[in-house]
């Protein structure tokens, strides 16, 4: 029997699901190997059980918690799809401000008060805290990056089809960057999160003339103090260091207090 595969999204830009639709060359082959039972962006169908559930987006409200728990209960494997699901991503920056303040800024005080006390629509407005998926339910596999790397998605699908676990080694982006023979951006006087960031993206940002901003999350055994010392030595001040750490990784435990 073909495995039943489903996609769900929470707070996200839906870019990671799009990245999968963008595997045009092999999309039909994949669809031949699995049974796609839910994919809201392309399908109208719904199903009761999933062998593999891909979850995009971060969890913000009580109603999102209920939904993800229900999906978890019906899934054999659950995969966090992209930086939003893996680590809260850029929107986790709003955790530094109280939800009421955020609503006030975006909607105005009068509107915040009016809509938030409407009982019928309260679940829509009951914002709590931006959390990665694994703060709420057990996650079996992580596909990192903002957006994900299609090759890693394919590797995961192939592994699961063969009944094996995908292998994603905890190497730093630096390793791939050096293989690509890029000039290190520290030598250009800029900051880079590459030394402490999970690789797998082939250092695509540095290859294209930018720096690594750490969208794949902080490595489990990253030496944060050494990285900060390096940045200070290169003349980058504390405020700028904090700003780098808080761009994509503000919800990452390793980056707390940065």
């Amino acid at each position: 029997m073909k495995p039943k595969v489903a996609f769900f999204d929470f707070a996200s830009c839906e870019g990671c699901q799009l990245a999968i639709l963008n595997c045009e060359d092999i999309l039909l082959d994949i669809l031949g190997l699995v049974e796609l039972v839910e994919f809201r962006e392309a399908l109208s169908e719904k199903a009761p059980r999933y062998d593999v559930a891909f979850i995009e987006g971060s969890i913000h409200r009580d109603e999102d918690i209920e939904r993800i728990k229900d999906i978890r209960a019906r899934s054999t494997f659950l995969v966090a799809l992209g930086a939003c699901a893996c680590m809260g991503n850029v929107q986790a920056r709003s955790n530094f401000v109280a939800p009421a303040e955020n609503y006030k800024y975006v909607y105005g005080e009068e509107a915040r008060n009016r809509v938030q006390i409407d009982e019928e629509y309260w679940p829509l407005w009951g914002h709590t805290r931006v959390r990665p998926i694994d703060k709420v339910v057990k996650v079996d596999f992580y596909l990192r990056g903002c957006p994900i790397v299609p090759g890693e998605f394919l590797h995961l699908v192939k592994s699961l089809l063969h009944g094996t676990a995908p292998h994603t080694p905890p190497n730093a982006v630096c390793v791939e960057c050096k293989k690509n023979e890029n000039e290190c951006v520290y030598d250009r006087g800029e900051t880079c999160m590459g030394p402490i960031t999970w690789g797998g993206c082939n250092a695509v940002c540095v290859n294209n003339g930018y720096v690594c901003d750490g969208c794949r999350g902080v490595l489990p055994h990253a030496n944060i103090p050494a990285h900060k010392t390096l940045m200070l030595e290169k003349g980058i001040n504390d405020a700028d260091i904090r700003s780098r750490y808080r761009l994509f990784c503000s919800a990452e435990p390793a980056a707390k207090g940065a």
């Binding site: 999204d9 929470f10 707070a11 830009c13 839906e14 870019g15 990671c16 699901q17 799009l18 990245a19 639709l21 963008n22 045009e24 060359d25 999309l27 039909l28 669809l31 994919f39 809201r40 962006e41 392309a42 399908l43 109208s44 169908e45 913000h60 999102d64 991503n89 850029v90 929107q91 709003s94 530094f96 401000v97 303040e101 955020n102 609503y103 800024y105 975006v106 909607y107 105005g108 509107a111 009016r114 809509v115 409407d118 629509y121 829509l124 407005w125 914002h127 903002c146 957006p147 695509v204 940002c205 290859n207 294209n208 003339g209 930018y210 901003d213 700028d240 700003s243 808080r246 761009l247």
Partner: protein
């Protein structure tokens, strides 16, 4: 088809599918009277407007592209223009040309995806593109070929398909290679037969004969079909206002049933998107696109919202031919590395561009340290939701005598999908719910 008997029912499409993001349609009908129609946007808030605070100017466009995956290029470019406005930066002609190329690559990608994957199944009467793999394999393969071409085009120009990193303030961090641009040009030329086949399939679609005249809002530019730049034009006043007066255009307000804000300008609601652009700027389309419009029976102004899909096809043709010409231009001028340094300073900036779903506004302020001190982004869907709800409010009573609950539900979902709403970036969109 149902008729004279008394109808009392509720429609509740709890999660409208084949749209980007989450929304819900709720309809109450009691004794043949439509009591209520609501379009609820149920997305969780992400608060981009507030969390950009503290960012360096160059980080803002990079981060706010995460508002939407499908329109990431448009968000990035609108934000880039906005920050440049605040910093007093004037980009070079080369940079503007590269940005226009990036813009058109995104229009091709998004319109192909929407027409083939989201809209065609409705008109063919199947629940998704998947059954078409068996019944219409040539259509699906063509869709995938065109989409891949559009994606490769974005990747060549921007470094990556999603959230491209090559564009920044003032210019390009890494220029696209001559060879890669030549390849894209040649593939676009070779894609013309596929594009013509796209017209053939759209010709066979049965567009519901529903019309509601409304205000059409888009950018307008004196010299070209406005996608990257222009002033804000209304079909009601037949005149434009500058982008820095966007608040007077959008007049945002809040309703409890939607986490997106709603907009209106000269009347209850307005339409943004492909139909608005083609209506407002028809004369500036490329001749090839005008021919396609004639072939598809499109006459501007057109007041049928379902025709938005046809307008998208007209724009696909426009962008394809325009891209070939602009790539030629870029290749002839020979791209040169530019100085990207600038000094961050205090200021406020305004920026707008068209994205596939409509006009997009960004607005940021920067403090004395050159750090972002606040922002605002008004995306097309939050401008359109009000007009979609108004369309539904007009559509349901009109069709109630001749349509069953099921037909009504399907047509409202189709109506919503015709707008190609981008609910996730409206933060904040779709389920049909008929309540009982």
């Amino acid at each position: 088809m149902q008729n004279a008997q008394s109808k009392t029912f509720n429609i509740d499409v709890h999660h409208v599918t084949r749209v980007e993001g989450h929304g819900r349609i709720r309809v109450n009908v009691r004794d043949n009277v439509v009591e209520d129609v609501k379009l609820c946007i149920t997305e969780a808030n992400r608060f981009f407007e507030n969390f950009v605070k503290g960012m360096r100017p160059e980080d803002v466009p990079w981060i706010v592209s995460r508002i939407c995956g499908i329109c990431c290029v448009g968000h990035q470019l609108a934000a880039t223009k906005t920050v440049e406005d605040a910093m007093g930066i004037v980009p070079s002609a080369q940079t503007i040309l590269l940005r226009k190329l990036l813009t058109e690559s995104q229009f091709l990608q998004s319109h192909v995806l929407h027409v083939y994957f989201l809209a065609v199944p409705d008109f063919v009467g199947v629940p998704s593109v998947l059954p078409l793999v068996k019944t219409h394999p040539d259509v699906v393969l063509r869709a995938l070929r065109l989409k891949k071409l559009a994606n490769d085009y974005t990747a060549v120009m921007g470094g990556r398909v999603l959230h491209p990193m090559a564009n920044t303030l003032k210019g390009w961090r890494k220029l696209p290679s001559k060879k890669a641009m030549e390849e894209i040009r040649d593939r676009l030329i070779a894609a013309v037969p596929d594009l013509l086949e796209t017209i053939a399939i759209v010709k066979t679609l049965k567009i519901p004969p529903y019309e509601r005249e409304t205000e059409y809002v888009s950018l307008k530019h004196p010299d070209e079909y406005a996608l990257y730049d222009g002033d804000v034009y209304s079909s009601d006043t037949k005149s434009s206002v500058p982008v820095n007066q966007y608040r007077a255009v959008t007049n945002e307000f809040t309703v409890a049933h939607s986490t997106t804000k709603w907009s209106k300008w000269h009347r209850d609601s307005y339409f943004a998107g492909a139909l608005a652009r083609v209506n407002n700027n028809f004369d500036q389309l490329r001749p090839e696109a005008k021919n396609v419009a004639a072939e598809l029976g499109f006459k501007a102004p057109c007041y049928n919202p379902y025709m938005n899909n046809v307008a998208q096809v007209i724009e696909i043709i426009h962008c394809a031919y325009n891209s070939i010409a602009m790539l030629e231009q870029a290749l002839n001028m020979g791209l040169v590395e530019e100085d990207l340094t600038f000094t961050a300073k205090a200021g406020e900036g305004f920026g707008s561009c068209e994205v596939p779903r409509g006009i997009l506004f960004h607005n940021y302020t920067f403090d004395a340290n050159g750090r972002c001190s606040g922002g605002n982004a008004i995306i097309p869907t939050s401008q359109n939701v009000n007009n979609i709800e108004q369309d539904m409010k007009a559509f349901v009573p009109k069709m109630l005598p001749v349509m069953s609950k099921e037909e009504l539900t399907l047509h409202m979902e189709m109506l919503l999908r015709a707008y190609d709403p981008c609910i996730s970036c409206s933060v904040h969109m779709l389920d049909v719910e008929f309540t009982e």
